[in-house]
Symmetry: C4
Subunit: 191 residues, 4 copies
């Protein structure tokens, strides 16, 4: 089974998710600067989610460059990942329109947590059909970043009810950690 | 005629259909947990339809891997399939926003029934231009799953007016049947 | 310059146009059959436009299979075609929500007329960079269908103000004429 | 690292951006010509932005034809470009619905300015990993058009508060300058 269509379908879904989020930036009624003011938290949450989905696309891209074969389980693990990412526009808007209040910030974290878990499952599903000395297995390595991200999300979700602002900063921290694409894979493939 | 663009166009349409459904998860006004409560049936119907469209994409993918040639009839049979699938976001929302009442549940079944029929026609159109001993013909075989699905939909549609809840469970049953991608094709190709 | 990305971009735009039209099928408030009644003309116009955009995709597909090279003018002629097709969702909804009244039916015809003209320009732009004995030139031939369509649209637009119903039937007639994909090209390439 | 998926993802995002703008052409309530009148500025801004995004797609296409390799920085420079272009539908609607008033026209210019800057950064990121005598480097050359565009945007943004109409004409001027795709690259590659 070729990975071409899986990549194309994922590209399509991620491209749509990243773009429909902008529809939540509702055009304001007024034509001056004050009309834009209520949009600032919506814009902030849009930017954060744009970076997160950009990170997922980048990592997905790097991951599948090292993939040599796929099977039916991989198709479903990938679909599962896309499902949780597809909820990010919803949690993004809820958080943005409520100016980063506790519950919306917690749910935003849950949607990131589930996406992170789904990505983890996808990686394991791929490793299960690749030999231990494959470029994929070597490139994934110990997956420190993945574990750190899940730990930070796990901290941020309950923290939302203490300080939603600080919980949001933890999400930004995860984004910064992943901002640099998965150079592990890039380096291994370059060898 | 190459199948590449048919696959690409279908991937695009299915990617959009699966993603725009999330737009029906309208961002609630409140910022606490009770504000999310009315969204539970909408979310349930979204999840069910995400799985169904995921199944269609998976089966479409498996099907076209075994396809060796296409013609103008195949293009239209495929377009016909996409037409009925494109109505699923509408029936999904109608069902979700009316908390799985009789008529919406019946119409949801009709949109699945027509999609199932259109898939059946697509398969027949493809078989008509492949020899009887082609990988495609062998892989399709007796198509038991297809017949069982149509039988379950045919039961569920009138059943909606007796027990919409039970009819909905039949849809879930079909989803479970198809959840495992068409291993018939996968196995035949692997030989 | 390769035609691959032009095809991919056109597939993307056409896939989105054909799919976002379904968003105009607004989920009704009621949960019984009478709630769906006002949607009948919207559904009729959706179906008609789905077929038209399906026809454009099919013909575009057939056309570019015979294309051997493209240039900057072709990119813009193609973008021009996509521009007019992108207005079809708007004219479709206006026509459907006003139950096929005069002005909306006329504007629907104008959007089809302009799309038809843009397709004609695209074909000429392609012929200008292909030799007269190329598969493309032979396949296009006299382009009777194209002229007949433009003639029927030209009739239908003023006719909308006399009988919008009859004008709409002329659009259906054009759809039927084109329903069968451009077998001229298919046959020529098969030789 | 192959450029195929970067092109596919960019095509997807640009196809969606160019198409969702048409959703702002809200279907009017009336069915006669006067009902369309308020849509004229919205349509004008839609057309202008369609051309701008068409230009970005064309230039992106030309640019990546000359590209021989990419890396992680290029992925992010490209994502950064898509971010700013994704804001164009918002600024387009704000400008169109406020009939080209001062602040909306200025913000439209800012979204173009940032997109132009992001494109400039993408080009520099690509040049950094290509040798000085590569087809890309030769094709880019002195990039006069890029500098002229940024200069015109820089003029138009403050000018919006003096004459929004004249500032809008400067945007049209930039569109005309770029309308002809980047023949520099086309010519160099043809050698």
């Amino acid at each position: 089974m070729s990975k071409g269509r899986l990549e194309a379908f994922s590209d399509g879904v991620l491209a749509i998710i990243i773009t429909i989020m902008v529809l939540e930036l509702k055009v304001p009624d007024g034509a001056d600067l004050t009309a834009l003011q209520p949009l600032i938290p919506v814009f902030a949450s849009y930017t954060l989610s744009f970076v997160f989905i950009g990170i997922y696309w980048n990592n997905h891209h790097h991951l599948f460059q090292a993939v040599q074969k796929i099977n039916g389980n991989v198709l479903w693990a990938n679909m599962h990942l896309l499902f949780w990412i597809s909820l990010i526009p919803f949690t993004t808007s809820w958080m943005g329109e409520n100016e980063f209040l506790a519950w919306p910030v917690a749910f935003y974290g849950i949607s990131l947590w589930m996406s992170g878990l789904a990505y983890f499952i996808l990686v394991r599903t791929l490793l299960a059909i690749h030999p231990e000395d494959s470029p994929l297995a070597i490139a994934i390595g110990s997956d420190t970043k993945g574990y750190v991200s899940l730990a930070l999300y796990t901290t941020a979700i309950p923290l939302s009810f203490v300080s939603a602002r600080f919980a949001s900063l933890l999400y930004v921290a995860v984004a910064i950690i992943w901002f640099i694409p998965d150079r592990r894979i890039e380096k291994t493939l370059a060898k």
